[in-house]
Symmetry: C4
Subunit: 276 residues, 4 copies
């Protein structure tokens, strides 16, 4: 990292901005976050409403204006975040930094590519901040337990997904040979799609076997899918049973790098060493 | 609470009523509950039968009369419960109090809004009392273990449901952009409905992707849904494995506040202090 | 029980019959069981083949004859079992005794009620004996562990099924009111059927919501069904994790009452006290 | 085994071949495996592309040539493997030996039976080698834990599958009798297929009950399927919770018998005793 700490004197304008925008411990910071969350939800609803034909016909113009208003607001907020944080590049590269950017880009993009503004619904991910606002440290703790269980079983899950992928490729191809194009299995990729639909027990029925051997193989795939769901379930269950005791986690974000997840008694950021 | 204890002298009419209506330890109380349960089941069957067209044409009038008879009976019972219980407001505000009220309201409402009487099937919840009648203290205990496991994992489940909600919004919107209205994804809300149908592995097939990229994303959603079901399952399994030993629980209800769940050796209500 | 022990002297005809028909420890007993299992499988295949239209047209007569041959054979076997066992009534009332009877009745019944002979497929349950023949004491042990886990969680499962039943009745009725007959929800029972199809994540799609509020409620039902499957899974997982150590179990059946499940070192039947 | 160790002097051509083809510890061995994996993925993509009608029309010839090129390459590789390994018969009979053979046979077979070349997708199983190449010893360890859990619960799973098989036969036949041919249940095998589709909660909807008793039985089957999925899940969860600690495993393969799974500190093959 070549970015150095900016001047973050207590009382300085930038320190104040950081307190309001990034933290939720002061009344101003909390108010900012509550307004932000309401804005995000409204902007997502605007995008959804815009996609419904009957609403679009009647209120299309108003929704169009509203969407630009929200996008400009979020752009201003994004710029302010970059200014107020100690290490802007680190924030820009963090999960929330990327989400914040992706949440405004589609609207600008829609000037060139019509329809792409629907992708602004990614703003919904910004709502994850809700856990911070509501002082829901316990929820953050629980989420961390779940993430921890998933993380420590990621290799088992990778092996499992690899096995599933190999299975759907082979079973899908076999069905393509057995059933053929006349029964809806028009190509191997389409048959693999069918195998995924069947193995995961979704079962749309848009493609379904018609011949006796095809139905027999399909029945086998179903029972296989029904049985192997036990594997990821067992993995996560086992992790959670063994699971570590939960740590209490502070809602404070580092003023330098804006990373979270500090212990309640932490006085320095454990990622960049800046004082909290 | 501004309601004071009513006079509940042993031998008084109200005490007798409480014993019969609220408890299941005496022969009269048991008989009352058995008759009540049979009435509830019959009244639900009447409402169901009334909704079947061929039956309605032939026996419509008789069913109409029967429904009013049951509703009047249950109304009388509700009023008696209010009179006999020590703290009527507390009963009226409890789970069973609300269910008892909701079980009679729809019929009266149907005078103004035709069709609303079908909602009386909520009476089926009153059958939960069956556990008390049959002296099924152990079942109540088991139910409490399950509720306890769900309660102590409610934060994990909230986090999980929040993640699922965010996923279906984003994936649904992406499918709306990819597949578009011509393939049945008529709006973002409809596409989110599709995402829920797919992620939960229900898979109606009323909306299904037609294009290759759409099918690829759908396959991803399915595998995601197939894998993440491991999370709630793992949460509840872990809770139940850790689970506390079961407590034996009495079937007695407090004569003052009608709350249940007292220990077998309890002599006073643990909620209002009245002698049991 | 008013049935007394019959004479089962070693060397007697009846004792020999018992050894051959009920046990699998001697060569003759094993041969008998192997032939029996092959006969059962063939007879089930005959019934299945008889139901396929193209086969029925061509080989209908032969299949008809074969079915009667198998039925007569199994009838003779059933009578021999009654003769050879020490306590015929106890055998007749046991699980296998009832299955053995149900496996022959439908064919005789089909003389009066055409089509009922298809129910002879219940013979497939007789194949459970295969575990005994193959000296699969370990499988019997594992099956007992599973049955034990299910048995000790039967109350939790009852509570769960009761909750599910209440849910599908209420949700089905609500959908009947919301969607109505014009969208396929023709009656409350049909809507309850839809609720079961959806809650269990089967999702045929033969009935599916068309209106926006209906789809919203359906989405809720799906997420509910997706989440609560965690409950039975957690129950059984917890039971199996706690699960008792497996006992070795003998394949010997009591010559008096034909009950199984005796310990390897047992010298007397633990159900009727007869020497093994 | 009547095959004796071949001369595998260090520096010999065959020893060098073994090092390159079978191992992934030297740069040459790693490069070989990387090229092999890319070739396998390309060849599978070629077969898939060949099955898509629009691609086949345009690039059919090129794809045909490519497929033969890959097949010849893999044939050469297979022969080299047979030459370089110490015990060719043991390799040919091992899992990877059979997969390697099955991965080239279908193309040759397609000269006689058109269409059979699609079965070459079984090549995808060769990708399991990817774990070795990427030095993913930990993944191999995790995979072993999963396999171990499945292996030690194989008897429980067999019992479970047997019970499921008996259930679908009986329930399918019952539905055939109840619904009959006019509602799509054209034969007992077709009805058993329906029972599998329903019990596993796949639910295509290509066959679905139309009569009231049929829908009632179907609802029962669904709830059954919904509940008993708890059984395999519980079995695997319990195994994984109890699960043994993971062993670290080397990626080295034996130069004599090409078996893997040796401990990191092993100096001799634990299967044939040859020095590693």
């Amino acid at each position: 990292m070549t970015t150095y700490k900016k001047d973050l004197r207590p009382g300085g304008l930038r320190a104040l901005g950081h307190e309001i925008i990034f933290e939720a411990d002061t009344p101003a910071g909390k108010a900012f976050d509550v307004i932000l969350i309401i804005s995000i939800m409204l902007s997502v609803l605007v995008v959804m409403a815009d996609s419904v034909h009957s609403i679009q016909v009647q209120y299309g113009k108003a929704l169009y204006v509203l969407e630009w208003v929200f996008t400009v607001l979020f752009t201003v907020e994004y710029v302010l975040r970059l200014i107020c944080v100690g290490k802007p590049l680190r924030y820009a590269g963090s999960f929330f930094g990327i989400v914040d950017l992706l949440a405004i880009l589609p609207t600008y993009l829609s000037v060139f590519i019509p329809g792409s503004h629907y992708l602004t619904v990614i703003r919904v991910l910004r709502l994850l901040r809700v856990f911070r606002v509501l002082k829901l440290a316990q929820y953050v703790g629980e989420a961390n337990v779940l993430m921890g269980a998933l993380a420590s079983s990621r290799r088992k899950i990778t092996v499992f997904l690899f096995a599933v992928a190999a299975m759907v490729v082979i079973l899908g191809s076999a069905m393509y040979v057995i059933e053929g194009e006349k029964n809806g299995f028009v190509s191997i990729p389409a048959s693999i799609y069918w195998a995924v639909v069947t193995l995961t027990t979704v079962g749309y029925g848009d493609i379904s076997p018609k011949t006796a051997p095809g139905q027999a193989l399909a029945a086998l795939v179903m029972i296989l899918g029904y049985a192997i769901i036990a594997v990821p379930t067992g993995i996560v269950s086992a992790e959670l049973v063994k699971g570590p005791e939960q740590k209490k986690i502070s809602t404070q974000a580092c003023p330098q790098c804006s990373k979270e997840g500090h212990d309640p008694d932490a006085e320095y950021c454990k990622y960049c060493g800046a004082p909290l």
